[in-house]
């Protein structure tokens, strides 16, 4: 790439903040603005008006009268307005008050006492000092007398630089008298462009409106002063000028009615433009819109690798990459220029920086003159390095580097293994893709952000690129003892992983066990022994799965994480890709589905569940009986009623849990839903229980719901009844269907969780924003200390041990690898 600027010299090094003096405003101002209007009747900018062509031009075809450039290249220039009477700069009024009350109104010396108060007597000239009162936004009173801006300005000019320095002000670049405006800086037209509506009418920017009013009042003030108008009228106009300047800077000043547009909408003036989420800082400076990006819906594709992303052809055709022409790639690029369909070159950039579109008219000429140091902008191709992102980007794995894989269709395809990192699902989620434009960015993304390098989360060191749902089921079924494959089936699965060698047929010397097939993708030196979620012992020795079947905890915690630590990202990626494909393909042959039948309990179990419910109701009634007779023993710190509620909550959840055992016994461990819950593929026992036996207690704020009608939750209940059903206990299961009242109670509980969820996202989002702003500048230095922007030490050794949190779990395993390492090194 051609660099258009010198990165070493043309760089902002530091930024100083200061206040413009009136002289500086006049000297940087390209024009004095006196006319309170914008365009003449022909739509041409008025001289000395707010759209004066010295301030830059926005209309195409016109030339800036200051720099001579056209609208595109002219950065815009400031102008100024001479105010006929000075006014207080409203944003600095607070500081004016501090300076005024800290200085003597006779000798202008610093008078503050040790406590920072204004004394009664000036310590220098012994004059009596009166109180300095500040009435927001801009009025100052010395004793009873209001100080006019002219008087304040005069006062401030006498305050010594040394005194200002002692008060902490920059006396050189922020003299306090400059906080009184005598000249107003007029921003360039580019900052406040007028919009031409469809009807041909011109609509002015809010800032322009405000400036028009300021000039108008200023003119009136001038006329009245020159005409010798009464003091009262002049003061009124002066106050009006002050009002307009206040709203010009901040239209949300407390105690001032906001200036409004004709339509009644408050004007957006300078402060409003800067602040807040949609303000200049957060919306335009900290975050920017980018080119070379694409967004569409995502859908899953387990047949692409986890660090690939399927890019739909229409998107690949639109995105381009700049490729510098070298003697080694010139032939390849020429081929792309010749082509008229994907993949082709879209533009070329000549050595002199001129862009030429590649089309039938230009093609031959380009091919003729194409040479080294040109740049060809070609379409996105297979294996190109791109960034992929899903919002909200809560952690760094929300944006990872993928390799493009051009596929037909209109959606981005991702391997379902990356879903946990992005927190993505396929119910209509959309994601963004960015085509990296420079070699540096591509290299950096590829080395640091690539998916397979992010398999372990920096939050806890556990895998975050991991199997879920059917992937887990697939691997589980494959590694079960009853998984036996024919030669054809085994070959079919193994070729998914690119393995062309078959293991020894270990079942009846003819068939292949699933374990043996799975073992083919394990590293040869890999051994672990652990207890699985199902309670069985899993033994992997020297890359052979000998005993046990693999469930979710095993595949991520015991296998993937350890393979990653020992064999690195590339092998782990290959392992995960292969395991996914093999598992899913095997699952296709096994079949995994659910049906209504599977949630119907046998009669005996139904009876037992009825018994549990009856028992529960009896216990609740018993409790209420004790409550009525006041014989119930209170829990410490709780009233009797609270005790009842807490006990009932405990009883109901216990009842539901104990019905779980019955469900488990009745449906059996092989029931798909239960199996999926047990191996950690999807769902939990709770889901099965709610479907098969009972939905259970509904809660509002962790208590039984009670509001609604007086003394009862729903109108057809008896008032004052505290027992189960009347207070949100749902006996029915989702299979049997809910009664009307139960349905309503379920909705009560459901509503609360929805409300909570939205509150939680808002609150946690803000907390995270604060945390990030507080800590984002901290980084590890060369000496492994953690330091902030000014090199202050925050931690002397990161984390106390300088260990990367990404490798903070499985430490025993890491250490065992290290020992191996030492062993091999010594040999």
């Amino acid at each position: 790439m051609v660099l258009h600027y010198n990165p070493v010299e043309d760089e902002i090094k530091r930024i100083k903040f200061a206040i413009y003096s009136p002289e500086m405003i006049k000297s940087i101002g390209a024009a004095r603005i006196t006319v309170p209007d914008t365009y003449d009747d022909d739509g041409y900018p008025l001289d000395e008006g707010l759209m004066d062509q010295h301030l830059g031009v926005i209309d195409p075809g016109l030339r800036c009268k200051t720099c001579g450039a056209m609208s595109r290249d002219c950065p815009g220039h400031f102008g100024h307005i001479n105010l006929f009477r000075p006014v207080v700069h409203p944003l600095f009024a607070k500081y004016l008050h501090k300076i005024l009350s800290a200085t003597c109104n006779k000798c202008y010396g610093l008078v503050l006492t040790k406590e920072g108060k204004r004394p009664k007597k000036c310590p220098h000239c012994k004059a009596e000092l009166e109180d300095m009162k500040f009435i927001r936004p801009v009025s100052f009173y010395l004793g009873q007398k209001e100080l006019l801006p002219t008087e304040i300005k005069e006062w401030l000019t006498f305050v010594k630089n040394a005194d200002l320095k002692r008060m902490g002000y920059d006396s050189e670049d922020a003299r306090p008298e400059w906080m009184i405006l005598t000249v107003l800086l007029v921003p360039p037209v580019k900052i406040r462009p007028s919009i031409t509506l469809e009807s041909g009418d011109k609509s002015e920017d809010d800032l322009t409106h405000k400036l028009v009013e300021i000039i108008r009042v200023n003119q009136k003030l001038e006329a009245n002063i020159n005409a010798g108008a009464p003091q009262l009228i002049i003061e009124d106009l002066w106050k009006l000028l002050q009002y307009h300047t206040i709203t010009y800077f901040d239209n949300e000043t407390a105690g001032i009615p906001p200036a409004r547009h004709r339509s009644g909408r408050p004007l957006k003036t300078i402060a409003q433009r800067l602040k807040g989420k949609e303000g200049r800082f957060r919306y335009n400076l900290s975050g920017k819109r980018v080119n070379f990006s694409a967004r569409t819906i995502i859908s899953p594709d387990p047949y692409i690798s986890l660090n690939e992303v399927g890019v739909p052809l229409p998107i690949a055709e639109e995105l381009t990459l700049p490729i510098p022409v070298t003697e080694w790639n010139i032939d390849f690029l020429k081929e792309l220029i010749k082509k008229k369909d994907y993949p082709m070159a879209r533009y070329v950039i000549r050595k002199d920086g001129v862009r030429i579109k590649v089309n039938d008219a230009s093609r031959d000429r380009i091919l003729e003159s194409l040479g080294v140091n040109w740049i060809v902008e070609r379409q996105l191709m297979e294996k190109d390095i791109v960034l992929f992102n899903r919002q909200p980007s809560l952690h760094r794995v929300s944006m990872m580097c993928h390799l493009a894989k051009i596929l037909p269709g209109k959606t981005f395809r991702i391997n379902p293994l990356v879903c946990p990192a992005y927190n993505a699902d396929f119910d209509g989620d959309e994601m963004n893709l960015h085509a990296l434009q420079t070699e540096e960015s591509q290299a950096e993304a590829f080395e640091l952000m690539r998916v397979d390098k992010q398999i372990l989360s920096p939050r806890h060191g556990h895998a975050i690129i991991k199997m879920q749902q059917d992937n887990v089921s697939g691997v589980y079924f494959l590694t079960r003892d009853d998984a036996v494959l024919t030669k054809e089936d085994a070959s079919h699965l193994l070729i998914m992983a690119g393995i062309t060698k078959l293991p020894k047929p270990d079942v009846d010397k003819k068939y292949y066990s699933g374990k043996a097939v799975f073992s083919m993708i394990l590293p040869e030196d890999f051994s672990v022994t652990y207890k699985s979620k199902l309670g069985e012992e899993v033994v992997i020795k020297d890359g052979k799965l000998l005993k046990g079947s693999i469930e979710s905890k095993g595949i991520t915690g015991e296998i993937v994480e350890k393979i990653f630590l020992k064999h690195g990202p590339e092998y782990t990626r290959w392992f995960l890709d292969s395991a996914t494909r093999m598992g899913l393909n095997f699952l296709l042959s096994v079949g995994l589905s659910v049906s209504m039948k599977q949630y119907t309990l046998d009669d005996k179990s139904k009876e037992e569940i009825d018994k549990i419910i009856n028992n529960l109701n009896r216990q609740i009634d018993n409790l209420i009986g004790q409550y009525d007779t006041k014989t119930l023993e209170r829990f410490p710190g709780m009233s009797m009623k609270e005790t009842v509620e807490v006990t009932v909550m405990g009883l109901t959840s216990k009842a539901r849990d104990s019905s779980g055992d019955i469900v488990m016994k009745s449906l059996g461990k092989e029931n798909p839903s239960i199996l999926m819950a047990l191996i950690g593929a999807r769902g939990s026992m709770l889901n099965v229980i709610q479907m098969a036996s009972m939905v259970g207690q509904q809660a509002v704020r962790n208590k039984r719901p009670k509001r609604g009608y007086s003394g009862r939750l729903l109108p057809f209940y008896k008032p004052g009844v505290l027992s189960g059903r009347e207070r949100g206990f749902v006996h029915s299961s989702f299979m049997t269907g809910l009664e009307v009242d139960e349905f309503f109670q379920h909705a009560i509980g459901g509503r609360e969780s929805i409300v909570n969820k939205s509150i939680r996202t808002a609150r946690s989002g803000y907390m995270q924003r604060r945390l990030i702003h507080a800590m984002q500048d901290l980084s590890v230095s060369e000496d492994l200390t953690v330091r902030d922007t000014m090199d202050r030490v925050i931690q002397f050794v990161y984390g106390g041990d300088a260990k990367d949190p990404m490798f903070s779990t499985n430490t025993e395993f890491i250490e065992s690898i290290e020992e191996d390492d030492v062993d091999t090194a010594s040999k």
Partner: protein, 345 residues
């Protein structure tokens, strides 16, 4: 695909943290990201208070370093020779539990006749083990007359220019007069911890508790970080913060590496006083004007900077993004320069 032996080196190299690593950002993300998964549920601390915030609200409370948490809890250990004695623990619980006049008496003001009426509630008194005399001793006012369980406090109209205002004040004072116990400490209960007993109470007055002779001053715990800082110092506060935050996350079953929590704690404690993370804390005290302006209170930070003539050194993340420069973290922190050398020389 072969497993390759070079992979061994890979682990060892990456085992420790790399210089330039943006650990602050990673810590902030690691702590913030699970926020969306946390519940808002309140936790029930046996006997002391029903709704001790846990989960997200507690985490926000912690990073805000509020003066006093919503539900301050103190665990008081007894001196070693007493801690196995349940009686002693109960005695202590009784002794520190604050009982104010309003707990045992109804207070009424008789504006017409310039007097305050107190009716001692025998039942409540018995419950708390307070007699009327205890109450009278605590109030200790001059013009006090008793009649049965009623106490009369008379005001002379000449006593003050504003008798009503005076009365209101006095009523408030009497209502909050402590008859017994340590100020602010309420709901003290004894908790059995495997044969050793400690007292758990609500409130934040460790200073008051330390004066009790039974209390083991080396072994007392509160969830009020600010108070720990004031009494035991910044190191203790840092440790308490780490412990509390870790507990919050553990309770939710969210595993976050302690290093992230430690870094947050260290950042908050770096200048000797514990600082919160908000606009008045770490985020508002940064060295960069632009970073502060981009966070919150944009206009205030900009005007302040102008008046003070501040210089933004452009060394953090936000300000460099705004200035369009490389962020000095990670690979951006490394400065490289080509040194062109002719082979011949």
């Amino acid at each position: 695909m072969t497993t390759g032996n070079h992979a061994h080196a890979h682990t060892r190299k990456k085992y420790s943290i790399n210089p330039g690593e943006p650990v602050g950002l990673v810590a902030a993300q690691s702590l913030g990201e699970p926020g969306t998964q946390m519940t808002m549920r309140a936790f029930h601390y046996a006997g002391v208070a029903e709704h001790v915030p846990t989960g997200l609200p507690r985490m926000i409370e912690l990073v805000d370093i509020r003066k006093s948490p919503k539900k301050p809890i103190i665990d008081i250990t007894l001196k070693d020779n007493l801690k196995k004695d349940r009686k002693k623990a109960e005695e202590l619980a009784r002794k520190i539990d604050m009982i104010a006049v309003s707990d045992v008496a109804d207070i009424k003001e008789d504006l017409e006749r310039h007097r305050i009426l107190l009716r001692f509630n025998e039942n409540a008194g018995k419950n708390f083990g307070v007699t009327m005399n205890d109450m009278l001793k605590a109030i200790n006012k001059k013009r006090m007359r008793t009649k049965g369980n009623i106490v009369l406090i008379k005001f002379k109209s000449s006593e003050s220019k504003k008798p009503f205002k005076m009365m209101r004040k006095t009523v408030e004072k009497i209502r909050n007069t402590i008859i017994r116990g340590v100020p602010d400490i309420t709901m003290a209960v004894v908790v059995d911890d495997k044969g050793e007993f400690f007292v758990r109470a609500k409130g934040d007055n460790i200073e008051g508790l330390l004066e009790m002779e039974e209390v083991n001053t080396d072994h007392i715990y509160t969830n009020n970080i600010k108070e720990i800082e004031e009494i035991y110092g910044i190191e203790a506060a840092r440790n308490a913060f780490i412990r509390e935050l870790k507990q919050v996350l553990d309770m939710q079953g969210l595993y976050v590496d302690v290093r992230h929590i430690m870094l947050l704690a260290d950042a908050m404690c770096a200048d000797g006083k514990i600082t919160n993370v908000g606009r008045r804390g770490l985020a508002g005290k940064k060295d960069s004007v632009l970073a502060k302006a981009a966070f919150e209170e944009t206009v205030r930070h900009l005007t302040e900077a102008a008046v003070r003539g501040e210089i933004d050194p452009l060394r953090g993340v936000t300000e460099n993004i705004i200035a369009g420069k490389t962020v000095p973290l990670g690979t951006g922190k490394v400065m490289l320069e080509f040194k062109f050398q002719h082979k011949g020389k």
